[in-house]
Symmetry: C2
Subunit: 246 residues, 2 copies
């Protein structure tokens, strides 16, 4: 049984202050994962960019569709994400989780139409050996564009498919997808049904915000949950929490 | 036309002093590559571990066949190699070479028989976009072993095959494979013919030394050259230098 769990960039960083890890939240997530049997049963972690990724991407004018052919530009974003990845790994190791980094620039790429290839054999080998791969939003090379941004959400969707994940969770700063009154929508089956609620993201997010998230998760066979850090334990125990997108 | 060029760990580090980059040699290699048309025509760089990889691997008792299931042990070796990779990338960027890191732990893995899988689509995409991928000796996950060492030489052999390389070069601290009198052997066609000359490596090398190098290169379709840094320019111009192994 494989669980793909994303820790949102806004959860693990202070998204309004550049390059600031939210150590308390990272530690809380790591402790919750360590207390759950899921880390022994096949867990892939993905984390977003938060204040390490989005500011650098914006500064350079990069997005999922707009690239750069300059290696030092791509490396600047990649290194920022590497620092955040190091912090997440260190916290997981403190909680005795056998986490190993998997860096998308080293493995993924897009063709000229933007279609992502992301080999997953190394992830399956890691899972079989009891490791927890920790993947992150990054830059990847794209034919005709140099390199473009690859969001944590796209990684989640891609790996959920290629690994045949049974459980997919997006741990966010909100307790679920919220309606116009701010209440958690229990279930979403189409993006149209909730279009009014999915306005703009509150801070710099070059990768689509909540509307993009919902659309991506609707494309999966496996139901995906969007929930807050306070419901991470519920998700890891039950397989669902917050808003269920199916 | 694809060239796979390895910069030996002994060339780019002081192999007798832990964690010491030989900055002058790295800079000289980068300058030579920058002056050559090969960096525009498809160049994959691979570098060895030198004093960043071998000491850490020895300390933990890891080799190509003996692994560890401890994530922090694997990460210690991986991080050491990451520091060396950063130094190599920085020097290449100073010489305006569009270098991007490709980290084997993120992409490669071995099955239970030790057979390496190393997806190469991202490398082809990088080459097509004019980037120079910089790969390095590393740890990779191996079924039944946790993780084991993957040498730069094995990466060279694997990528030369999967990328259909036209040129393969191993830049070493010696001007070629030397005979018992210390003279460069111009050509090697079998390991037996030179067995007497291929004794022990002079310093800590967990990945086989010169005999292993020769054996691996003999298994390739493409002739491979072993040469010193002073012949790097010759290799990049002519496609061969030093000792030719075919």
């Amino acid at each position: 049984m494989v669980t793909v769990l994303k820790l949102g960039g806004s959860v693990i960083t202070d998204k309004d202050r550049p390059e600031t890890v939210d150590s308390a939240s990272v530690d809380r997530a790591a402790a919750t994962i360590a207390d759950s049997p899921v880390s022994d049963a096949g867990l892939v972690l993905v984390h977003g960019g938060g204040s390490f990724g989005h500011h650098r991407a914006s500064k350079h004018g990069l997005s999922e569709s707009r690239g750069s052919a300059d290696a030092t530009t791509l490396l600047d974003i990649h290194e920022g994400m590497g620092e955040l990845n190091d912090a997440v790994l260190a916290s997981l190791h403190e909680h005795d989780i056998s986490a190993l980094p998997v860096r998308p620039l080293s493995v993924g790429f897009r063709d000229g139409d933007g279609r992502l290839s992301f080999a997953a054999g190394q992830l399956e080998a890691m899972l079989a050996e009891g490791f927890v791969p920790v993947v992150h939003g990054d830059v990847v090379v794209q034919t005709g564009q140099g390199g473009t941004i690859l969001s944590g959400d796209e990684i989640v969707a891609t790996l959920a498919r290629s690994l045949g994940a049974n459980r997919v969770g997006l741990c966010s700063t909100v307790p679920g997808v919220l309606d116009a009154e701010g209440a958690v929508i229990p279930e979403i089956r189409s993006v149209e049904a909730v279009a009014d609620s999915l306005g703009e993201s509150e801070t710099t997010d070059v990768t689509g915000g909540m509307a993009g998230k919902v659309e991506r998760m609707l494309s999966l066979k496996t139901p995906a949950s969007v929930f807050g850090l306070e419901d991470l334990q519920t998700f890891l125990s039950n397989g669902t929490a917050g808003t269920i997108i199916r």
